[in-house]
Subunit: 365 residues, 2 copies
């Protein structure tokens, strides 16, 4: 049997509470199905800074590199708002993405039928919504150099960030988008700002070339990122797969998530390239929501995004498609049953805490 | 009487049709009220490229620099999709912004009561919405250098854009936001990505300093731009004035505009610094919508955004506050009356063309 080593990085805020539900689930799968998961744990974000003075220690980074998959909770909180830039909580996540070369961030925005009414958008606009944002995750303005603040004297400073994309980076992320589109509605929309950015001009060109050379069977559209944001709000169902750069992907995927009314429920997968020999991809799975420090420790956090992230892990890292489907089905079932955590509570439903929600999903699984 | 020289740059697509309605309005104001506007015209965008091989000629640029205000329609269309980057239609608009130093872009997102139902958002989420996005317009990734595509050989290219902000740029745009907030609900939300971008760290710092030094009476919040985008979709009424950089402003203002269901109706103003002697600001007014080449020339375009942009011109460039109020009232009145262009048509309303809509507004004015 292939190894199933998981590194759990619960992080800060509601991260540990949400992760606790996944731990129970893993234990149940090992006990009942003999799934054979082996877990280890580490620190990332503010808690890592408190322990080691870094947003992730080298030792935990090594564990992450060696694991078959990493499950990541959330990082950050007001406690660490004033720590130096280099060791801020987010730096741990960014180092994981960069060192593990997780260039492909998959963010499904699906609208759970049971929650269609809780979106701020009209029900008919979001009901049945199922789009996938494929965000480039190791390039662009997140990592380009120079990235610095220069003191110009006279009380003036200059803040600089650099957006950089090379052909191969655009090629590989668009390849991922086209491949995934083939398993869905076969439609990719690429978004950039080619009318203002040279990296956008190159992005547009390389996506078109990749399409022509290898994926001409997939429908491809190009949209300016600002128009794309508008179209997401106007009629999101026009999209199937959206492929875009790191910064636009950050903005657009959060907006897409919010449309569904299910922000506490949405998972993501960050994948590396398949290893030439083993074909295995490095991978990290994390909820789209943040650390929500305001509700941390109260037992009211929604664990569904974290559990759904583990479902993506089953699917993409371990090929356990049946189990992934079953787990996603269990989530839908408890929602249909009327169970709601506080963030998605509505009239006539039953409000439950983090642990009860986790238990209910595990019971249906 | 102070001079009232207007340069009209109608541009491409529906620009000329929308501008024609403003021309009629100006003629009516001159004839009936003796307003004394003197107009001149020029070319910008694709039509300028066709005529001069540039997105705006030096001669028209000089006219713009000399005018008391510029009214701008829209630029671009598929006809010019393949022209060289340097002379693409947008380059004309970007040159106007840069050479006129129009650093402050004011984009109100208001929801016309008559249109609240036509938003893709729930009526209660957008009804009565009135927010103002103050976007920095002459800095950031739009103009930073290096901005280029480098050939790396081996079929690899590198696209580079540079985001640059200096203290003084952040100071002056936040000053505009705080000043305007004082005339509204006295609340500013500043948005950046300080957790990833050094320019965001500086942005946050300078906005806070400016607030402390000169505007401590205004309520100030900071939000990460991705979270801000989510909050705009979730509950936009939490905002009053949003101040943000050029690229985030591009994305966020388009999204805010779309929320209102009134994208064809929203104006914008781009202002320079007041001249030390004359106190006059250079200014350009333009609709938020684009050139809509698909419906150009059919007489169905909505002229309201262009007319509302002229109302902003009356207000900000000529201090004609009563006239601006009256013009905005006339727009609301024809909507209440049930007149609709095709883009905002709904059941039970009366569909009219561009010219009829313009005539109806002028008649109410
Ligand atoms: C926490 C932060 C660095 C991160 C990002 O900007 O990528 C987050 O917003 C995300 O989308 O995963
Ligand atoms: C036309 C384009 C260059 C422009 C921009 O990106 O600023 C437009 O989208 C806008 O928002 O005014």
């Amino acid at each position: 049997m292939a190894s199933k080593n998981l590194l759990l990085l619960a992080g800060d805020g509601i991260g540990p509470e949400a992760m606790a539900e996944v731990k129970k689930l893993i234990a149940a799968m090992n006990a009942k199905l003999g799934s054979g998961f082996v877990t280890d744990e580490g620190l990332v974000g503010g808690c890592a800074y408190d322990a080691h003075g870094a947003a992730i220690s080298d030792a935990d980074m090594e564990k992450a590199m060696a694991a078959d998959a990493v499950l990541f909770g959330a990082v950050g909180g007001p406690k660490w708002d004033k720590v130096p830039y280099e060791v801020r909580p987010e730096a741990g996540l960014l180092r994981l993405r960069k060192d593990m070369e997780l260039f492909a961030n998959l963010r499904p925005a699906i609208c759970y039928p049971a929650l269609a009414a809780s979106s701020s958008l009209k029900q008919e606009v979001v009901e049945g919504l199922d789009i996938l944002i494929v965000r480039e995750l190791t390039g662009g303005v997140y990592f380009g150099e120079p990235k610095q603040i220069i003191d110009l004297g006279n009380g003036q400073k200059r803040g600089i960030d650099t957006q950089v994309y090379d052909t191969f980076e655009i090629e590989r992320i668009s390849g991922v988008a086209f491949e995934l589109a083939r398993t869905r509605k076969n439609h990719v929309t690429s978004m950039e700002k080619r009318n203002v950015m040279k990296s956008g001009v190159l992005w547009n060109e390389v996506v078109s070339q990749t399409h022509k050379a290898r994926y001409a069977d997939v429908k491809l559209d190009h949209m300016l990122a600002d128009a794309g944001g508008m179209q997401l709000v106007r009629w999101p169902k026009q999209f199937d797969v959206i492929v875009t750069d790191n910064l636009f992907g950050d903005m657009l995927s959060d907006i897409a998530a919010m449309l569904t009314g299910s922000i506490g429920m949405l998972p993501s997968a960050s994948l590396g390239a398949p290893d030439v020999k083993t074909k295995k991809r490095k991978a990290l799975y994390e909820p789209v929501h943040g650390s929500a420090p305001d509700i941390a420790g109260q037992g009211i956090a929604n664990p569904i995004a974290m559990i759904a992230s583990f479902a993506m892990c089953l699917r993409y890292s371990f090929g356990m498609v049946a189990e992934a489907d079953k787990l996603e089905g269990a989530i839908a079932a408890v929602l249909d049953q009327g169970l709601r955590t506080k963030d998605i509570m509505s009239e006539g439903m039953t409000e439950v805490g983090t642990v009860e929600m986790g238990d209910a999903i595990i019971a249906k699984f």
